[in-house]
Amino acid sequence: MQIPCPLCGPRPENEFHCAGQSHILRPSLACTDEAWGEYMFTRENPKGDHAERWRHTFGCGRWFNVLRSTLTHEIKAVYGMTDPRPEVKR
């Protein structure tokens, strides 16, 4: 699989690190244990389009977001770390 790094273009998958589900916001440290546990461990794990974080670890080092299907592995969108998840046509 080739991952399209926003800076370097398509590069082999083993130059990257996948850091799991994106858009997870850390709650205030005054939250309940349950809320903290949810933040630390609970994940969407969709069978389908997944918004996830990738880093070009063995390349430019850039972090970016990817919308990828966990069923077909097709990459549907690449967007900035602080951008919202885009709507894509199925």
Binding site: M1, P12, E13, N14, H17, C18, G20, Q21, D33, E34, W36, G37, E38, M40, F41, T42, R43, E44, N45, P46, K47, H50, E52, R68, T70, L71, T72, H73
Partner: protein, 416 residues
């Protein structure tokens, strides 16, 4: 119809063998059961068997989306072992290994248990020291473990790369001699046959599409063949745990990853133990057919495709050739993957869920096959008595809120 597998029946059924009963009934689902189990993998089938056998609860149906044992149970590398670090895990997996030791006899089905041992290789002073700790922890828990020096390792596994120029020098290792392998399909079929004979209905090609909810409580499952009602519903669908859980409005600390396996062409015996090198991230054994069975680390991005990514396949093959240089001419016959539940502390979840009437067995990561007997035994206990089995007590969903994690990443070998 002959049902018992024995030398006598083999003789008496000859030469046509036409009067053997089917190994399990292909059941039509009734409208209602005491317990419905979702998933006819090893854990689901074992749960149904022990519900009937240990607790006399026979009004049970297992509902399976595909064919029984076609998920991870049919895709693993068949290794069984109990060489875990923490006491809670050691007790759980050792109980399972002991059940495996008696399983062919218990099920009247040859599961081909081969206690050929598992050797974990040490490549550095740090590996040697941490294996000392690991082996001693096992022995403190009453589990067999033996440290090996390079000489002993060489006589056990002569094909290993003992060259002076090896990138990963071999300094020694340790072995659990009672570990080994069992025929994965036979475990599924044995439990299916046993459960079916005791009255459990196994309904295949019948996916669960939703839950029947009554007053906030799970009262059954919805399927293309209609509603099937039950007092209690249990899920044992590793890989798809969050997909099913979501139908009940439940979220889990689980992410699905592909775990690959591959086999070489069959060759004459070259490896008569299981070998694991955590440093290169792969492990090997040889089947009775002569195929070298190769497994490795998890794929590195979430996936529901049962194939894995070629980047990992390359990594596992490279690891194999580093440890066994003489395998470089072998042809790879087949490569595939299962979808495993990865949980942050590499430990399972066996217990009630916050949704009344709904129970779960999930989160086994890369280590579910060895735990089929204990997973079934403990979930059956919970479903029949309403109380956690003491072995399953540490492995509840609550630990993700209380922080009482059981972090088995290291001793799990290949990180779950």
């Amino acid at each position: 119809m002959r049902t018992r597998y024995s030398a006598w029946n083999l003789l008496a059924a000859a030469p046509d063998h036409k009067d053997w009963a089917p190994a399990w009934r292909d059941a039509d689902p009734k409208k209602k059961y005491d317990v419905v189990i979702i998933g006819a993998g090893g854990h689901g089938l074992a749960t149904a068997y022990y519900l009937a056998k240990n607790h006399g609860v026979r009004n049970v149906a297992i509902v399976e989306a595909g064919w029984l044992g076609g998920g991870n149970t049919g895709r693993n590398t068949t290794i069984v072992r109990s060489n875990y670090l923490y006491s809670e895990s050691a007790r759980l997996y050792e109980f399972s290994l002991k059940l495996y030791e008696g399983l062919s006899s218990e099920l009247n089905f040859n599961i081909m248990l081969s206690q050929r041992g598992i050797v974990t290789v040490a490549h550095s002073r740090h590996d040697l020291d941490s294996q000392s700790r690991w082996a001693n922890a096992m022995r403190c828990n009453g589990i067999d473990a033996e440290l090996l020096d390079a000489q002993q390792l060489r006589s056990l596994v002569p094909r290993l790369n003992f060259s002076k120029d090896a990138r990963f020098p071999i300094l020694g290792g340790f072995i659990q001699r009672r570990a080994g392998s069992a025929r994965h399909d036979a475990v599924a079929w044995g439990y299916a046959r046993g459960a079916s004979a005791l009255g459990v209905d196994i309904v295949q090609n019948c996916p669960v599409t939703g839950f029947v909810m009554e007053g906030g409580r799970v009262a059954g499952v919805k399927t293309p063949r209609g509603e099937i009602r039950a007092e209690k519903v249990a899920m044992a669908v590793s890989g798809h745990s969050t997909v099913l859980a979501e139908m009940a409005g439940l979220r889990l600390p689980v992410t699905s990853y592909a775990l690959q396996a591959m086999v070489s062409e069959p060759i004459k015996p070259v490896l008569d133990t299981v070998l694991l090198s955590p440093a290169v991230g792969a492990y090997w054994s040889q089947s009775d057919k002569g195929e070298v069975i190769i497994g490795g680390a998890l794929d590195h991005f979430p996936s529901y495709a049962q194939r894995g990514s070629y980047a990992l396949t390359q990594q596992i093959v490279a690891a194999t050739l580093e440890m066994f240089p003489s395998f470089s001419r072998l042809r790879l016959l087949r490569q595939w993957a299962g979808i495993v539940d990865v949980v942050q502390d590499s430990s399972p979840i066996i217990g009630a869920t916050p949704v009344p009437g709904l129970y779960i067995n999930c989160g086994w990561g890369t280590g579910g096959f060895k735990a089929i007997p204990v997973g079934g035994w403990t979930l059956a206990h919970l479903l029949a008595t309403g109380r956690n089995h003491e072995l399953a007590e540490p492995f509840q969903l609550e630990r993700f809120a209380t922080g009482r994690l059981i972090d088995e990443a290291a001793a799990a070998g290949i990180a779950h």
